[in-house]
């Protein structure tokens, strides 16, 4: 059967990984499909510096993405540029040229995936975005097809490899955040400007996409409560362990009785849960279904070849559809149709909390803090204090029974007015139900 022709725009890490797999694994890919996948055109700003893998045959190399999109032979365009600027132009132009599209672009798909999908359906082409979230984990495929008969009730993810690397290094070595971040930057795990990773924005885009797919709701990324990991200290892991927990940057989307609550924030999770065993730069997604109960998916979050596998698998999926003459018909976003549970503010969330205090020691501190909690109807569960050499900076912890995020915020604000506090209390939910 005739080859399906691929054009690749963007030859960074993921683009080069994709090309390498398409070249090296061409035989097996052809056997799995029943026809070859052929790379017809590639585009990069620095295309002349790029060495394509051997055995690709004749490939158009261009610096102008329009050459790829308009190429008469190209059936599928892989958009591997990223960002929301030119990437959007590329995808729009590809759809206009009735080319199918594979993208690895989390930011763009989180912002306007539903809209892009609707345009793709109207144009009768195919669209795929496995590589946009958790590169090495085929979580889209799972949510769209593997467990499509189920009804998702909750989804928890560790979706930023850099943050998870930093947290598990702090946990293992007891080193402070700043030192571990520097180490991560040296190793190439963190960017020079680490904000997107350590402040949670990268994870937020990914959660927006997964939650849209899982719950059939329109999710606006900026509506998701997002808090990064900069305040987490080695002492927090010591306290968490004492409580039988560990700390991860948790992306959570779950149904409560009143709606869908979304957040990206550091949280305590039980050490006995399989999510707690996710170490280093790995990603994981935990899905709770009404019928299928718990399923869990784990793999590399990023990297040239793991993400390349996602792009190549998507190209294969789209190529199958093209050969079957079967365009997209129903958007996996399907917003405003599937959803029974509208997003509601995170302040309505009920959870147990961990509150960590750094204080200048003086008598009556616990009494003062407990009074604030009592006034907000928050029940204190335990007070923990690990031995410390330095009595002037003695972090201690109060855990409280399930309370609303709103009441916790009010309590934290009120506590913060006390001048014995060196910094505002650090509040983290304890995800005991995992």
């Amino acid at each position: 059967m005739e080859a399906v022709n691929v054009g690749i725009i963007g030859l960074g890490n993921v683009g080069m990984g994709t090309l390498a797999i398409l070249a090296e694994n061409a035989g097996q890919i052809g056997l799995k499909l029943g026809f070859p996948l052929r790379v017809t055109a590639v585009c990069s700003r620095h295309v002349s510096d790029k060495t394509l893998p051997e055995g690709m045959g004749s490939v158009l190399k261009t610096t102008d993405w329009r050459d790829v999109v308009a190429h008469p032979e190209v059936d599928v365009v892989a958009e591997l540029v990223g960002g929301t600027g030119v990437a959007r132009e590329i995808i729009d132009a590809a759809i206009q040229h009735r080319k199918s599209v594979v993208t690895a672009n989390k930011e763009l798909m989180a912002l306007c995936g539903a809209e892009i999908w609707d345009r793709a359906i109207a144009a009768g082409i195919n669209l795929a975005m496995e590589a946009s979230v958790a590169g090495g984990i085929p979580i889209h495929s799972v949510l769209r097809e593997g467990i499509s008969g189920d009804r998702v009730t909750a989804l928890y993810g560790i979706l930023n490899g850099t943050s998870n690397f930093i947290l598990t290094e702090i946990e293992k070595h007891g080193a402070p955040f700043a030192d571990v971040l520097e180490e991560a930057q040296r190793l190439g795990y963190a960017e020079t400007d680490p904000s997107a990773d350590v402040d949670g924005y990268d994870a937020r885009s990914k959660l927006a996409i997964l939650a849209a797919l899982a719950f059939g709701e329109k999710i606006t990324p900026s509506d998701i409560y997002t808090e990064g990991i900069r305040r987490i200290q080695p002492i927090d892991f010591q306290y968490a362990h004492q409580l039988g927990h560990t700390i991860r940057l948790v992306c959570a989307a779950h149904q409560s009785s009143s709606g869908l609550i979304l957040s990206v924030r550091p949280a305590l999770i039980p050490q006995s849960t399989i999510l707690a065993s996710v170490q280093g730069a790995y990603n994981a997604v935990w899905v709770k279904g009404k019928y299928g109960a718990d399923t869990f998916y784990y793999g590399r979050g990023a990297g040239s070849e793991p993400t390349g596998v996602a792009v190549v698998s998507d190209l294969m999926r789209v190529a199958r559809e093209i050969r079957a003459g079967s365009p997209e018909r129903v958007s996996p976003f399907a917003h405003e149709r599937l959803g029974e549970y509208k997003p509601i503010p995170v302040t309505l969330q009920m959870s147990a909390y961990y509150l960590r205090f750094r204080v200048e020691d003086q008598p009556g501190i616990i009494a003062k803090l407990s009074r604030v909690l009592a006034n907000k109807q928050i029940s204190l569960e335990a007070v923990l204090q690990l031995p410390s050499e330095n009595c002037h900076d003695r972090p201690f912890v109060i855990t409280v029974e399930p309370a609303s995020e709103q009441s916790i915020r009010e309590a934290v604000a009120e506590m913060s007015t006390n001048d014995f506090l060196v910094e505002p209390p650090l509040a983290m939910p304890m995800e005991k139900s995992l």
Copy 2:
């Protein structure tokens, strides 16, 4: 768009779970597909005793599966009977009537999946079998589509929930195998005749299917070396823990330099690996890919609703293909085409081993056993003996450095001739590379 009509044959646990989900979740299924899935006919030997969920509309209830297969409106037949007898007849007849087929039948698909798939392709219909392995985990979907661009190099599974329940109960409570089995039978986790589960045959069928899919090889289940868990004792977990490991019934398929080695057997796995955190009746699959590295999938292994999710998701997949007019074209078995690595005997496997001995104490035992190992060029790594009250039955352990399964078997046979042994040594591989 017009409904796709489903006929369900077999109303046991899985059949009833499937019906319940199709009824309860009908709205969401229809929105995801863009058309309804309608149950048109059901068949069971005891169909008059079965209460169908409400709101299914008019459904033909019959005791003769031929009525379902020949029903003019039925587009897809779900074969949920199991076994290799009438189930085979049903699938053959459905293909003959050009009906698509969804099956949960591991035994039949392990024995003749490739052949059935080829017939389905020739007939131009669709076939799906997600529910046949690890009910709650969409592992077929992952191997066929999610990571189809990768090249699998190894696959490890915990694929029998009953065995895993028994092993983790022995681990937690230190109770002997027989007591835990009885408890599992009482709870309904184990059959009255537990052989298929505890002797590894159920897991073997599942491994045969997954390995065929992952490696593109024809796998004959009876060729897979299979050993059950009956000999595992609480003391083995104590020794395993001392070695930083635990014990699971591991289904393994991995490439060595000379070929593909398959086995189902109890093995020591590092406690730090995520596979070790699989507790109770859960299943898990660990896939190593040449490009995508490690991915891991976890969920319920069985149960009416988790397996029902797999059947319903398959019905949705097949229904999409039917509406797109897109029949199966390439078999996921694809045997004798993809495979570069033929199955080779397990005796060629190189591994570290754990050898546990129960002896009548007498001087010189270790010396005698070490001499046997030395004669086979097997390097001893450690000798472990936990304190025991009873000096007449003192199990101890020798671990050895990587050696061939063949040399270990010969050593075990030679050791077994010593009359100080109460029983033949128990040998288990240590999967240190996990």
